[in-house]
Point group: C3
Chain length 324, copies 3
């Protein structure tokens, strides 16, 4: 799915990029067209490689350039020119920012106008004081509540409803999606490079994708992805006050109760049920048909069909036995 | 208390209802006036009976019809005609929806107008951009903050204040109630029949009732009941970011700290104190004068005058001893 | 820092105050200029002393009067006249309310107007429908999103951004502060004297102070202090849905993940990292460079450089060993 939210300002000459970020130029007159991860990068792109965990992807990357360090560079294919950096993530962040200068902060969309002044006045069932940005797409038979803000380029399918006081940006909603009052969807993730006195915000150029038939409960927050997207599968229902961090991917037919939170980049399978106030740490894989009891704290990946409870979450039967 | 929020579109002939939901008609020319639970149903009503847990109520029900199954029907009195269904809750949901077609979704109230155009312009201390629906009742000496939305038929007593950015619907507030900024009160509960590809929303025709002298903290969410009501007793104070699910009943003089969550249908006594981030599972009974320590996860009912802590919550002294 | 938000309506004669709250007058024609805590009170002020924990401060207080009881009064210096009360906190609350009558409730600011009508129309990058109170100060190069409310006397530094649907009052923001969508900052704390039938709200005359370079995530709530201030240090980043109660002080360079909650009056050091959904009880001291794992419940103070996990939180290595 193409990303309508961030405009790639490239291509840039490689030496222009290196000079901009105070790295040594390499005297090559080559265009760099985009920045991508190791797996999705193609010829002409720049990528980054900062951990041996990704060696397999590094060996096969099609990128023309790769930000890396001296101890990893030998793993890259010959077609990929290494760019050596002391701080790979910082350099990656800076180059992303050159390509996508609007991706670091989340200032409000100043293209919005009252929806009454747009073609949607007739097409959508409208509340009062709705603001809508440039180039928003809204399908048939939708309803939008009072004071809701839909920022530029957002796409909303057919038969959707947004509640009142909703803020939505950088997001694509399929059909029959219901977003309830007070949600904030698509803001930048909590991603930055910590630094004394002034943290460095990491660019966040991903989207939020919400599948058919989903429901998102009141006052929930769903952050957009950084380089990949945050995804909610088909027919997944979220209760109130849920927090979903950047890059999280949730499967189909999940049921997630109130005040549950997900740290960044975890992947949740299909048909997963999660009780209220449970939390899932970052970078985990939760299998299909998993049940997580309310209040649990999940700090390890969970295989398919498991039932877990506790903090740290363990097999449900074991938890109940241990706590008799 | 009569419910001013949902309009009963009945009566309907029993065979009309059965035909509508693809059940076998019974060739009786009898009117059905309403759908109620086993206990509150009266002559002319239809009810449902899906678990032996409710056998005592079933034996005494005054309903004229009861959706049930073959193994339970013999428990009904002779005055009550069984309607056999493979999926009792689904059939109940469908019939509720016929009587109360507006009860399934929570689209914004399109009767609202700026309060400056109503009689409340002079009577209430008003912020800016307040929206108010048809037939809202507001008592003496009230104050309403900016951007707040009060949907149709809501009733607010004397000496109440609503903060800014509040959304309130399907609710009745007594006197001297304070609802702080950003609350969403009275939206439909998180109730549905899970189904692959497209969950089936269960109708939610209950209200939220808030007693005298209560305070509800910022960004909290209180869902209305499904068939019964969600109730907050007199002089109960809630801190910020609290979530109260449908049908929960909280007693008088309770103190509930920030980020606490209640799953559906639990009943909390009087003079209960609950520390921050604690969670209470569904369908529990918490007695009077109970203290629940912050962070606790309560998964069993608690008797009067107990002090508990932990996850799962246990007697406070035991918890402290176990965790020395 | 002087507090621009609450107007001291004093001085009052001591006998006027005592008569107002039904205490015995002392027949002294002396002015009382303000109410302060034992430590900050100066000559002419009234203070209160209700627990031996504060004996050292009591012995040295410069206050002219002190609300206390018979068993504590002998600890006061001769220069301080004891005012004996059966209910010290209640009496203190009542006298605070006489000096600061607006400090008990949080009714919306009725001085606000649309920012388009003010000098900030040209000076600030503005969204739609922004409301701004009297005497608000906004620095250079700021951005304010749609529907945001900035109440009277709030001060905002240079290069700050407020998101949309933000409510801010009784707060001072330094430079380069980012407050994201849906936050409520500066409302009164959850402080009151419990009383059957009608709790007595405790006056809350503190502020929220947010240091340079901070970020506050979406739908978070930060309450102002009661007698002291709630403080967020420099370059501290908060994720979404965080709750910070009154009088909490957080240091510099902290990183606090989603849905974390702090009960009142805790003091958090510098460079502290806290994982998602962790909770910190009230009146604790968390040292510098502390790491608190996600989901932890902290109920004791933590010394510098510790890493903790669990509920109750304990040393990280011990937690991991105990839970193998």
């Amino acid at each position: 799915m193409s990303n309508p939210f961030f405009n790639n300002t490239g291509p840039y000459k490689i030496d222009f990029l290196l000079e901009k970020i105070d790295l040594k130029i390499i005297n090559k007159d080559i265009n760099v067209t985009d920045i991508k991860d190791l797996f999705t990068a193609s010829n002409g792109n720049i990528t980054f490689f900062h951990s041996r965990k990704y060696s397999e992807f590094a060996k096969k990357t099609k990128a023309s350039f790769c930000i890396t360090n001296s101890s990893l560079k030998h793993l890259l294919p010959k077609s990929c020119i290494p760019i050596i950096s002391d701080n790979i993530l910082f350099t990656t962040s800076k180059i992303t920012e050159i390509f996508y200068p609007d991706s670091v902060n989340d200032n409000f969309d100043d293209t919005v106008q009252n929806i009454e002044k747009t073609k949607y006045k007739e097409k959508v069932k409208l509340g009062k004081n709705i603001l809508i940005g440039n180039n928003v797409k809204i399908g048939q038979n939708c309803s939008i509540g009072h004071n809701t803000i839909i920022e530029k380029n957002v796409e909303i399918g057919d038969n959707c409803s947004l509640g009142s006081n909703v803020i939505i940006r950088n997001s694509i909603l399929k059909n029959n999606v219901h977003v309830l009052d007070g949600c904030v969807i698509g803001k930048k993730g909590f991603g930055f490079l910590p630094s004394q006195n002034k943290n460095i915000r990491y660019p966040q150029i991903g989207m939020v994708l919400i599948g058919d038939n989903c429901e998102i409960g009141c006052n929930s927050t769903i952050d957009r992805g950084s380089l990949s997207d945050t995804i909610i599968g088909r027919n997944t229902f979220l209760d109130n006050q849920i927090h979903i961090a950047h890059n999280v991917k949730i499967g189909d037919n999940c049921i997630i109760a109130g005040q549950v939170g997900f740290a960044g980049s975890s992947i949740i399978g299909d048909n997963v049920m999660i009780g209220g106030q449970a939390g899932v740490s970052g970078h985990l894989k939760i299998g299909n048909n998993v049940h997580i009891a309310g209040g649990s704290g999940v700090i390890k990946s969970i295989s398919d069909n498991s039932k877990v409870m506790g903090y740290p979450a363990k097999e449900l039967k074991k938890f109940l036995k241990d706590n008799k």
